[in-house]
């Protein structure tokens, strides 16, 4: 009979806990928005954070509350955007995006300060005197971006990474991985890009690399739409204004514009 009392004690404690929890979940339930659930189902579930929210759940909640626009999910692309728009009953325009690496240099044309033989990673190499390149802004080429890409869209060939347009979804994970912040997420239908990130000026820039922007402002002068401007000794393109006439490309003596 000695077993009866402990069983009763345990049973009562369990019962109190169980009843307490079920009452709590009933009275303090937070209604989950049906719309939010449906929106969440549309999303790819990669939780990459490219939309600017903590994950697919966070983004679905923000869209359901009207705080965010549908179609900000780069991995989902147009299919996801269309599905989300259908649930919300709105029409949206989506803009496909792509990663752009703003450096035209490669081991052959960019001069080196020293020979680096340490750990083969850009973040480690950039800690040693801003990296082995004469140009403190340029691509080190160990491919931290390629390692960060979950889709395998970046390949490093001869010490120079390149983005495969067909695979890239513009999630921006590579942009975070680059210690030189060379990668930006730009519209896929861009007509012209600046392939340099060097914000220094003077003869040093010209010597370090043969495809560096010297901020001569020739491109700015020939541009008819005012899309290209030199800011902080570097040409910058406003993609919404660029009509792709190609005059800046002809004017640039250092092949910075591609």
């Amino acid at each position: 009979m000695e077993i009866v009392l402990p069983v009763i004690i345990l049973g009562i404690i369990g019962l109190i806990a169980g009843v307490g929890l079920s009452l709590a979940s009933k009275f303090m339930a937070v209604p989950v928005d049906e719309k939010q659930e449906k929106l969440r189902e549309c999303l790819p579930g990669a939780n990459c954070g490219a939309c600017g929210y903590s994950g697919c759940d966070g983004y679905a909640a923000a869209v359901a509350e009207g705080k965010a626009e549908p179609g900000n999910c780069p991995p989902g692309g147009t299919d996801t955007a269309a599905a989300m728009a259908e649930i919300l009953g709105v029409e949206i325009k989506t803009e496909q995006k792509i990663a752009h690496i703003a450096c035209g240099g490669n081991p052959e044309i960019t001069k080196r300060k020293y020979d680096y033989s340490g750990m083969q990673s850009c973040s480690a190499a950039s800690l040693l005197h801003s990296g082995p390149l004469e140009c403190a802004f340029g691509c080190i080429g160990f491919g931290d971006c390629a390692k960060a890409c979950p889709f395998g869209a970046i390949t490093v060939k001869n010490g120079k990474p390149s983005v495969c347009e067909e695979i890239c979804v513009g999630c921006g994970l590579c942009a975070k991985a680059c210690p030189k912040a060379l990668i930006s997420i730009i519209p896929k239908d861009r007509k012209m890009t600046v392939n340099c990130a060097n914000k220094a000026k003077g003869a040093a820039v010209a010597k370090a690399c043969s495809v560096s922007c010297l901020a001569c402002k020739m491109c700015e002068k020939v541009c008819e739409t005012g899309a290209i401007k030199v800011v902080d000794n570097l040409a910058v393109i406003d993609y919404s204004l660029c009509n792709g006439c190609g005059k800046c490309k002809e004017a640039c003596k250092r092949n910075v514009l591609v």
Partner: protein
């Protein structure tokens, strides 16, 4: 009842008897979520919160219901109560303090089965602490857990850009680093009793 002061309880819990580095409890989150400082911090806050609340509930249960005849029910009752409390805290946070719920995220339910939480409630009983002392002991254990997590997340971030031999990458080097950090906490032995 002994007459240990609150200050010495706090000091001992954080440094000398550090939950993770001296008692080797809660190793799972210590290795699992210490990769980034911000997640390590969220986890530690959740652990501290649950430790204090769990102690505040289990201490009266032990001393007024189980003692003196049914003390052998300690483990099973504590597991039951802690699991229920964690669920309850989650429901309450979700309803009333949404930002904290979002910040703690998945860490709160993970703590349901955390040995550090069960460990501190049972240690409080076995060390014959009174209610106030128990609550402060739980708080200090939580803060000690936080210290260990933050220190170790720093170590792990440094290891990210270190040249580690291929066969040591990942868990092996993490365990070695954890052992060295733990060894360094031996230096605190003797402080605060």
């Amino acid at each position: 009842m002994n007459n240990t002061t609150i200050a010495s309880i706090l000091l001992a819990g954080i440094l000398t008897n550090n939950m993770v580095l001296s008692k080797f409890l809660g190793i799972c989150p210590f290795l699992g979520v210490s990769k980034k400082t911000d997640t390590a911090f969220s986890m530690s806050i959740a652990v501290t919160l649950v430790m204090v609340v769990a102690t505040a509930v289990t201490w009266p249960i032990y001393n007024y219901i189980l003692a003196p005849d049914y003390t052998y029910l300690e483990t099973i009752v504590f597991i039951l109560v802690i699991a229920a409390i964690v669920q309850l805290i989650e429901i309450v946070l979700k309803k009333y303090i949404k930002p904290i719920y979002n910040a703690l995220g998945i860490y709160l339910p993970l703590i349901t089965t955390n040995c550090a939480v069960l460990g501190i409630t049972m240690l409080n009983i076995s060390e014959n602490l009174n209610f106030i002392q128990s609550v402060f002991n739980a708080l200090s254990a939580g803060l000690g857990f936080m210290l260990a997590m933050l220190l170790f997340s720093g170590v792990r971030q440094r290891m990210e850009s270190a040249d580690i031999p291929e066969f040591m990458k990942g868990l092996p080097i993490t365990l070695v680093a954890a052992a060295i950090v733990s060894l360094s906490f031996l230096g605190f032995a003797g402080i605060g009793g």
